[in-house]
Symmetry: C2
Amino acid sequence: MAIMDSRSARKHQAILEAATTVFLNKGYAGASMDDIARLAAVSKQTVYKHFADKEKLFSEIILATTDRIDGMIDVVTDIPADADGLEENLTRLARRFLTALTQPQVLQLRRLIIANADAFPELGASWYEQGFERVLATLADTFRRLADQGLLRVDDPLLAADHFAGLLLWIPVNKAMFHGGARHTEADLERWATGGTRAFLAAYGRPADAARP
Amino acid sequence: MAIMDSRSARKHQAILEAATTVFLNKGYAGASMDDIARLAAVSKQTVYKHFADKEKLFSEIILATTDRIDGMIDVVTDIPADADGLEENLTRLARRFLTALTQPQVLQLRRLIIANADAFPELGASWYEQGFERVLATLADTFRRLADQGLLRVDDPLLAADHFAGLLLWIPVNKAMFHGGARHTEADLERWATGGTRAFLAAYGRPADAARP
DNA sequence: TCTCCGGAACTGGACGGTACAGTACCCGTT
DNA sequence: AACGGGTACTGTACCGTCCAGTTCCGGAGA
């Protein structure tokens, strides 16, 4: 991550950023190398100096995005082991999860990878493992910790993490996948967060917590 | 649904089928009208006699697939109101749900629609409503019925249906979306079906059923 | 019921126009 | 002089159209 200020490095960065936005907005097939060069304020030749061909450029960009997942990892790890505030804490986690995964950029990235999973199988697979499964594994660790402290009843922590994510995300993510650029309201997110967390605790919380008011 | 055997109708059908496979396998941009005509054993001119242009052909094909959802609707409706066999019945429903939605063709169709949701917004939206939401609404009705009979504790039937689907499908569908053509084993499906159903009943079942063994 | 015929539908190929990935060559700055 | 960067080009693919010739369908007549 050394910041090189050489002209070459600056152009390299500009190309990466331009390519990212163009690919996200137009898809792999729809993005032209001319578009990318134009947006990067760079000649096409320069693009080809830095990246062998379109496929290489695409791969590089997609794989670069897995770095940004680290923030999500932290969010998932930092759950206070506070018996009284468990529902509150999980709901906060759910809110962060939801807002993070319904960012337009994240959704566009998802669509981009899914759309080209046939053409770039190893790309989709590695993104799934390094992005998706990593977060779920971390969440599973957190749940195991909470279970050890008697706050949850969890046999299979990974399955519990899958269920937590599924309860929260299935509807909003699907809705966003099928609808072009439509965004959800704040109220919708709140409903999903509280509803999903409540259901999760009903299933995996201690019996006392599972009782409904 | 009248079966017209006129030559025109036969060609029409051949074009529809050829276009479906080509679009599913190559995506919208990757599919060429020449490919479609060749596979349909029809001249390109004939294709354009039947369909104004590529977009029209694409829309028609995608929308035609919503008909096939009717079978899924039936599956969701036919849940016996049998107190003792509730978990067994729901697990059977879960299995059918999972096998139906992990069919390669269904997954390819999902990818195709998602990939082109930007270019064809109304197409993705209407498919979501007529395919996705219709099934969930029916499932919600079923859950309401079961709740009225005292078999489930459900405040918001639609949310419960969303949660049922999310518990079951989030992981397998995502895995399939990101991995090109990989298929799941029978054992995986069984695990997801039983695990998801158990969690659902823990959250929404009667207290007696919610207790774990 | 069988034959034949007019016209609609289809064929195959070619083509204009366009878009785009990748390359060859030239220029200006240092 | 050397080299990073830009312009202009090549070759290809594909959408949509056109045309001249052929095939098929359905109905009229024997």
